[in-house]
Structures are given as C-alpha cells and as structure tokens.
C-alpha cells in the first residue's frame, strides 16, 4: 500500500515533506470549501485545523490506489465538516468580511450581479453549496470532485451545470 510515507513516485520526499507540500497547496482551498459549506468562519477555522491534524496523523494510511492525495484530503475535510454540521444542527451565518476579490469594482452592473449572486448562493441547498465550494472555491477538477463525493464524473458535470444555470437565472431575475 502506497502511503504518504512511501509514495512510489516520489521516493525522494519524506513523509513529512509530502504532507507539508500537500498542506501548502491545499490550506486555502480546504478553508474555502469548509467556510462555504458551513458559512461560519470560526467553525471553518476549527474544521480546517482538525482536517490537517487528522491528515497528518493518518498520512501513513493513505492508499494511492484509492485516489490522489488531494481528493483524500478533501474527503477528510468533508467528513469533518459534516460532523460539524451534525454537531451544530443549525445554519450559522458566515460572518465573513467583505469578500476580497481580484475584480475591479468599476461597474455598477457587475456589483449588482454580485449582490444577486450572493443572495442566490445563500439560497442554495447545502448539497449544491458544497458542489460550488468544491468546484469554484477549492478548485477541484471534476474527476477529483467525483472521488470526494463518490459519484461519477458525468454526474458531477451535470450537477455543476444545473447549479450554474440556477445561479445564472437567479442573477438575471429582475
């Protein structure tokens, strides 16, 4: 069984180096995913910490035959986030600061669409919100998404298209 400790294709990297590289590459993605799903910044920080701590402890159980490290890590994050959801049993408002964006707010129409989009995102069911978080905020490919969610890549694509269509319609509503 290949593990983070003994990756068959990266024999030069130690277990720790592999984990650290995974952490550097995924920290913000994990946080973005968890924060979008939970809509609670404090809870997202706790779950993100727990995710990496569990990943660090379980790094030797990673089996490359069952998927890539990134999908494995997001699986851990998803379990931790859902456990948090179960524990809280409530929807917490994401007490976010204004979202930092690279886009220049030079267009009033764009600002309106962004406001409409935020409202639409807030209305999304949790499953759709999770999909948005994984695809657009965590940057997972459709194949990685399929691995994390346990569905086919085709199903992932179809669901993404539906969610985007839903958002587009919401943004275009008067």
């Amino acid at each position: 069984m290949a593990s983070l400790a003994e990756p068959p294709t990266h024999v030069s990297l130690s277990s720790w180096e592999r984990f650290e590289a995974l952490y550097r590459a995924s920290r913000d993605d994990i946080y973005a995913y968890v924060a979008t799903l939970l809509r609670d910044r404090a809870a997202a920080e706790d779950v993100t910490s727990a995710t990496f701590e569990r990943a660090y402890r379980k790094r030797r159980t990673f089996d490359r035959r069952r998927g890539e490290e990134r999908a494995w890590l997001f699986g851990i994050a998803r379990n931790a986030a859902l456990d948090e959801l179960r524990r809280r049993r409530r929807l917490a408002r994401l007490a976010t600061d204004p979202v930092e964006t690279d886009l220049v707010e030079d267009d009033a129409e764009v600002a309106l669409r962004r406001t409409a989009l935020r409202a639409a995102l807030a209305q999304l069911p949790a499953r759709d919100r999770e999909l948005v978080a994984l695809k657009f905020h965590a940057g997972l490919t459709n194949a990685e998404l399929a691995g994390v969610l346990g569905v086919s890549e085709s199903a992932v694509g179809t669901r993404i298209h539906r969610v985007v269509e839903k958002l587009r319609k919401a943004c275009n509503e008067p």
Partner: protein
C-alpha cells in the same frame, strides 16, 4: 435527465467554458454568461484570516506537537491510531481465557489423563508385584478406557446390586449386616502366550489353597498366540475376597478386567422358608455359602511404549516422534479452539464496524440534507 446519463453537447460545452474561465483561458463567446457566473462565484471564495493562517502554519511547523483537544478525533481515526486492537484485544483475552478454562478444567487434559490411565491399566507381567497391589493402581482402573481393560459392569438386575470394584484390589468389602448375599465374580487375565499354562496351573493352586473347586476348565496352551484358558470356579464365600486377591496377583498375569456382583437374597430366602420351598431354600443357601468365579486367561502382549517404561523410559526416535505428534496435536487443538472463538468474533466485529461506518456515512449525508 439523470445525472448519470451522458451529457448533451450543450452541457459539455458549458462545462468546458467554466473550466476554461477558471483556468484563466479564453472562452467560447456562446457561453460568455456562464463563464461570467463562474468568475463571479470564484470571486466569492472565502479566504482565511491571516492570523488563522499564520497560527495553522505554526502548528504544522511544530507537527501538531500539542494536539488541539477541542476537536474530538473521528471514530475511524481512533481506529487508525490503535489499529484494530480495540476490537481484537478483548476478543483475544476471551479466547485465552476460554483456552485456559478448557485446559485447566477437570478432564480437560483428557489426552494426558488417558495416557496415564492406560499405563496404569496395562501393567506388565514383569512389573513389580507391588504395582498390582497398590491402591493407586486400583484407582486408575476405574477411569480406564474400554479397550485398555475397563471394568465390565454387570447389567442392572432387580433386587440385586451390581458393582464394579477394582480389578486388582481386594474386591468388595461387604459390611457384616447379617444379610444373605449371593456373590459372583468374573476375572479376565492377560498373560504372555508362553505362560498360559503356567498361569492356569497357578489358578488351580489358588483354588486348592482356598478350599474351592473347579466346576469346569479349558486350557489351551499353544505356545503361540492362540493360547487360551477358561475356568468356572466355586469358592466358599468367606474366602472370596482372599481368592480374588490371589488370583489378581498371579505371576505372569495381568488383570484386564474384573466384575463383582452381589445379590441380596435375604427376602427371597425368607419367603422360600415361609412357603416351605425346601429346594429353593437349599439352592439359595448354597448360593450364599459358595460364590461363583469365572476366570479367563487370554494372551496379552504389552505395547512397545510400556516396554520402554519397563526399561526406565529410554529415548528412542519412535517415542520422541510420538511425543512430538502428541504435542503438535495439542497445539493444533488449541489453535483450532482459538480460531473457533476468534474468527466468528472477528467477523462479527468486522460486520459491526462496517455497519457503524455505513450508519455514520448516512448520518453525515443526512446532516448535509438537513442543512
């Protein structure tokens, strides 16, 4: 459309546009609106607070040296930390306990017990006489397996007592209660083929010494394996214990089995007297006064294992192999018992673990639906 159905070209093109815009590549103008939505959604990505990111970086640098206590580890994590020992350790303890119970229980070590009984039951003609007289030897016969010369117990008889005394001991020690008892015995002796006639002669000598008489006898001494002797004796009841003792101690003979039977005829005798059945009274009184003894002498060759004992139990390859086989058999039995306990328990544990995992998964998914 079901999510698992093949995507139509329009959906495929829209997804390609989304992927392209996320990657910063130009998109198809026909899907510009979808691409714009995708960009807007990406722009909504939450970013971790700098202080949180710095704190987490520090913890990672320290390799989570001081693990946070506020986030309880998941059950699967607990399993992975301790492996499956949290299931197997109690099961192993139960298995070891069971094996210990079986091994320590009376009769649990049946193999070794049988072996010692067999040795005691098959005294050699050349063994010291004291071995045949010893109470320990007599006691050992009571647990002997049938093939090794177990006592043949007479079938139950109405108004009679049938007992199975020790073969080599003094026999029944009946209390002097004034009861009228008819006693009879059967004695089966083993002797080397070449000694059948010698033992038969000794039987005659004992009968003469105890004032008994031989009703019938058959002695066939071939010198080979076909030798055989059979006696039907009538002895004064008063001398029966002594007679049985001496017959059990004959040189060259080994007691293979012995059956003593006692029938209380006090009531029958009283009834016969009341009814003046003189012949019946005489027969009963004669039965009380004289006891019947059936003696058979058959060729008997002690096994090789006993022969080794006779010579002080020296080491031979054959004996060592037998002992090794016995040890392996015992070990195999213990392993079999352990597997009989551990395998079903492990299967149950595995099934339980999988069920718990499935339930946990379902609860998580349900939490997502509720949220």
């Amino acid at each position: 459309m079901s999510p698992d159905e093949p995507q139509n070209p329009e959906v495929t093109a829209a997804l390609a546009a989304i992927d392209a815009v996320i990657a910063g590549e130009p998109t198809d103008p026909d899907h510009a609106e979808v691409a714009e939505i995708a960009l807007l959604v990406v722009a909504e990505r939450p970013a971790p607070a700098p202080e949180f990111a710095a704190g987490l970086d520090g913890r990672v640098e320290r390799r989570f040296g001081r693990a946070s206590r506020d986030v309880a580890p998941a059950p699967s994590e607990r399993r992975s930390r301790g492996g499956w020992w949290w299931i197997l350790a109690p099961l192993a303890g139960v298995a070891v306990g069971l094996i210990a119970l079986i091994a320590l229980a009376p009769g649990g070590g049946s193999q070794s017990s049988s072996s010692s009984a067999t040795f005691a039951l098959k005294p050699r003609a050349s063994a010291p006489r004291s071995a045949l007289r010893s109470p320990a030897h007599a006691g050992a016969q009571s647990v002997a397996p049938p093939r090794a010369g177990a006592l043949s117990v007479a079938p139950p008889h109405p108004a009679s007592r049938s007992e199975a005394p020790t073969a080599a001991g003094p026999g029944l020690q009946l209390p002097a209660t004034g009861r009228k008892l008819i006693q009879s015995s059967q004695l089966s002796l083993g002797a080397p083929s070449s000694r059948i006639d010698t033992v038969a002669q000794e039987v005659f000598n004992v009968v003469g010494a105890q004032n008994g008489f031989v009703n019938s006898s058959t002695v066939t001494a071939t010198g080979g394996t076909g030798g055989y002797a059979r006696f039907q004796l009538t002895m004064p009841s008063a001398t029966l214990p002594q007679t049985m003792t001496e017959l059990s101690r004959l040189r060259y003979a080994t007691v293979l089995s012995r059956t003593d039977k006692v029938e209380d005829v006090t009531g029958q005798l009283a009834r016969a007297k009341r009814r003046h059945q003189k012949a019946r009274v005489r027969a009963l009184e004669r039965g009380v006064a004289y006891s019947q003894i059936a003696v058979t002498i058959a060729p008997y060759a002690p096994g090789p294992a006993h022969g080794h004992h006779a010579h002080g139990g020296g080491f031979t390859i054959g004996r060592a192999a037998r002992i090794a086989l016995q040890v392996l058999t015992v070990i195999g039995g213990i392993l079999l018992i352990a597997m009989a306990v551990l395998v079903p328990a492990a299967l149950v544990g595995l099934a339980g673990g999988r069920t718990a995992g499935a339930v946990r998964h379902r609860r998580r998914e349900r939490a997502l639906d509720i949220a």
